[in-house]
């Protein structure tokens, strides 16, 4: 059973009917199978239609969907012999960012990303995927490790943003993010980042200053959450939908702006309805880009990464 979003109500109703009919079929009175198939076709069509034209706000909801595959799901399916590595060696272990070395489709690689957590306990443990400075300093450490052993860096981005807290500020949240970007820009190994859910502002770009930046079809990537933008520019929180639209935070818009390199398609009805498919599609895309990037030597990779960001902003939406 799915957690349905607001705009999925008609689909939820259809699926509810199908469920009822399936129970009726136990009576064996009428041929229910035909009716179920008909309704299923209708539900699929509705799903396809609504997912083909999601608004920016609907995409925001899909991107935050609790059933979407998270960092740990990708690692479980795509990475063999994963050895998670803990701690920033300075202050603490921040479980909002998980990282380590593992084998991705034959490549030894450093793999890291924000983990939002699966249930209440998990969400608290991982601080809802909102990292403190320690998380970003761990990321820096892992990037340096990748550089030292000539391993590619794969980052999966899924965060509403860096954690806004007193301790995080005291320990230099801004510096930790800035340094993460600096180290990313200096890397002489391939770096690929994929936004799998929410790409929230500075907390996202800290691990997304990569040679290739990909986004799942219904993920979002924004300078500020639509709710925050609404309360600042509209002076109240009621214009999140307008803000989402105005911010151009969808994968489709960002692709047009040349900010991302590829959109990874999601299965019908979003990654939350076809977790395995979504994970495999992300894996295939990463593998393809990894093969391309491995052809270049370190200095070229570094230069190309810089050039990519220097060129950004020349292209508009029109």
């Amino acid at each position: 059973m799915h957690n349905f979003l607001d705009f999925e109500k008609p689909i939820a109703e259809l699926e509810g009917k199908i469920e009822e009919l399936r129970h009726l079929s136990d009576d064996g009175e009428i041929n229910i199978a035909e009716e179920v198939a008909k309704l299923q076709t209708k539900a699929d069509r509705l799903l396809r239609q609504s997912y083909a034209r999601l608004t920016a706000w609907q995409k925001t909801q899909v991107a935050r969907h609790p059933d979407r595959p998270r960092f740990s799901d990708y690692v479980a399916d795509l990475v063999e012999d994963f050895a998670p590595l803990a701690g920033d060696r300075l202050f603490a272990e921040d479980r909002a960012i998980i990282g380590g070395i593992g084998r991705f489709r034959g490549f030894s690689a450093v793999i890291m990303g924000q983990e939002k957590g699966a249930d209440t306990t998990g969400r608290v443990k991982h601080n809802f995927g909102m990292a403190r400075p320690e998380g970003y300093r761990k990321a820096q450490r892992l990037m340096r490790l990748a550089e030292r052993f000539n391993l590619p860096v794969i980052c999966l981005v899924d965060t509403s943003g860096a954690y806004p807290g007193v301790g995080a500020e005291e320990r230099g949240q801004a510096e930790a993010i800035a340094r993460c970007i600096e180290i990313s820009l200096g890397l002489r190994v391939p770096m690929i980042s994929v936004v799998i859910g929410e790409g929230g502002s500075g907390g996202a770009i800290a691990i997304a200053t990569a040679n290739r930046v990909l986004m799942l079809e219904h993920s979002i990537y924004s300078v500020i959450p639509p709710e925050g933008c609404s309360s600042i520019l509209w002076r109240n929180g009621e214009h999140a939908q307008d803000a989402a639209e105005a911010l151009k935070l969808t994968a489709q818009d960002l692709y047009k702006l040349d900010v991302i390199d590829e959109i990874v398609p999601e299965p019908l009805g979003g990654a939350q309805r076809g977790r395995r498919e979504a994970i495999d599609a992300v894996g295939d895309a990463i593998e393809r880009h990894l093969f391309e990037l491995c052809r270049h030597d370190g200095a070229v990779l570094r230069q190309k990464r810089r050039d990519k960001f220097l060129q950004m902003g020349t292209k508009g939406l029109s």
Binding site: P164, V166, R179, C229, G313
Partner: protein, 313 residues
């Protein structure tokens, strides 16, 4: 405070109020609410003579305060896309830009200038908070890249003076992309072996603090400046607690090891010049060096102490 500030000034203020002198001759300090006569405020570099509160200064005044004799030349900034997203909230972004240009008489939230400090070529990029809160979009990012190129070309140190609430959200993701872009600017200066200083002024927050502003070889902050990543309201809403006294102020950051020093506005120029000299003139001056005598084959340290025998240096 002396008799004049404690007694005479309030008297004058009372008189002034009665006489209804135009308001703009008197400024009210936002920190201590005392009135300050405009000439006095200019003379004190916009620092409250009563409580030492550092008020924001415009980019042009900042440049004037730092360069030798207050002289500098601004650089024409590269042309960038205007309103790339055709952004509209309650107002069109294009209109907001036009208004900002009209009220500030500046084209953007940054000024890049070259001039001299201590007689040496120096490049300074100063943010103008009056222009849309000093927010960083494409034009500001390109401005910082231009400043870095100029510094490298002139083999000059670069000083950046942020005064910014962060990224300009009306440029959406492209404003976020100025974070890596400005970090590249910093890297270019550092790779050329040149000093990159940041002078953190009120405010330095959000995407500006989390990029170039935290990567200075030396980080100097003005007293009382708000410096941090997350906005205070966002933090309060998240943790549901009131924030500690002085939170995110320059002195608080100094205490937590995030800046090198907090320096009064009147001492900034001298402080920076001293640091530049220390990084530039790395050896003892010729006048005090005792050169080993040539041709004698004497080992190092053999030359006699005191003044050299033949008077050469």
């Amino acid at each position: 405070m002396n008799w004049i500030s404690n007694f005479v000034r309030p008297k004058i203020r009372a008189l002034v109020k009665k006489a209804e002198v135009p308001d703009n001759l008197w400024h009210k300090c936002p920190a201590c609410t005392q009135m300050i006569f405009h000439r006095e405020l200019e003379a004190s570099l916009k620092v409250c003579p009563h409580c030492g509160h550092h008020m924001r200064v415009r980019a042009r005044q900042r440049l004037q305060l730092l360069f030798d004799e207050g002289k500098y030349t601004t650089v024409e900034l590269p042309e960038t896309q205007i309103d790339p997203l055709r952004f509209r909230d309650r107002k069109r972004y294009a209109d907001r830009l036009r208004e900002a240009t009209a009220t500030t008489a500046e084209k953007e939230a940054i000024l890049v200038a070259h001039g001299r400090m201590d007689g040496e070529a120096t490049v300074i990029a100063a943010f103008d908070f009056a222009f849309m809160g000093g927010s960083m979009g494409l034009a500001v990012g390109d401005g910082l890249l231009a400043a870095a190129r100029l510094a490298v070309m002139q083999e000059a140190p670069l000083i950046v003076v942020p005064s910014s609430g962060g990224a300009r959200m009306q440029e959406g993701i492209l404003s976020l992309m100025q974070m890596p872009r400005t970090v590249i600017a910093v890297e270019q200066v550092k790779e050329a072996g040149l000093p990159f200083f940041v002078l953190l002024t009120d405010p330095t927050t959000g995407g500006v603090s989390a990029s170039f502003a935290m990567l200075g070889d030396i980080a100097i902050a003005e007293p009382g400046a708000v410096i941090g990543f997350a906005g205070q309201r966002v933090i309060e809403e998240t943790i549901r607690e009131t924030l500690p006294e002085g939170f995110q102020r320059a002195e608080y950051l100094l205490e937590h090891g995030m800046v090198d020093m907090v320096v009064h506005r009147r001492d900034l120029r001298e402080t920076i010049i001293n640091l530049f000299r220390l990084l530039r003139d790395k050896r003892p001056p010729a006048a005090v060096v005792q050169l080993p005598q040539t041709g004698t084959g004497s080992k190092h340290g053999d030359s006699t102490g005191g003044t050299s025998a033949d008077g050469t240096v």
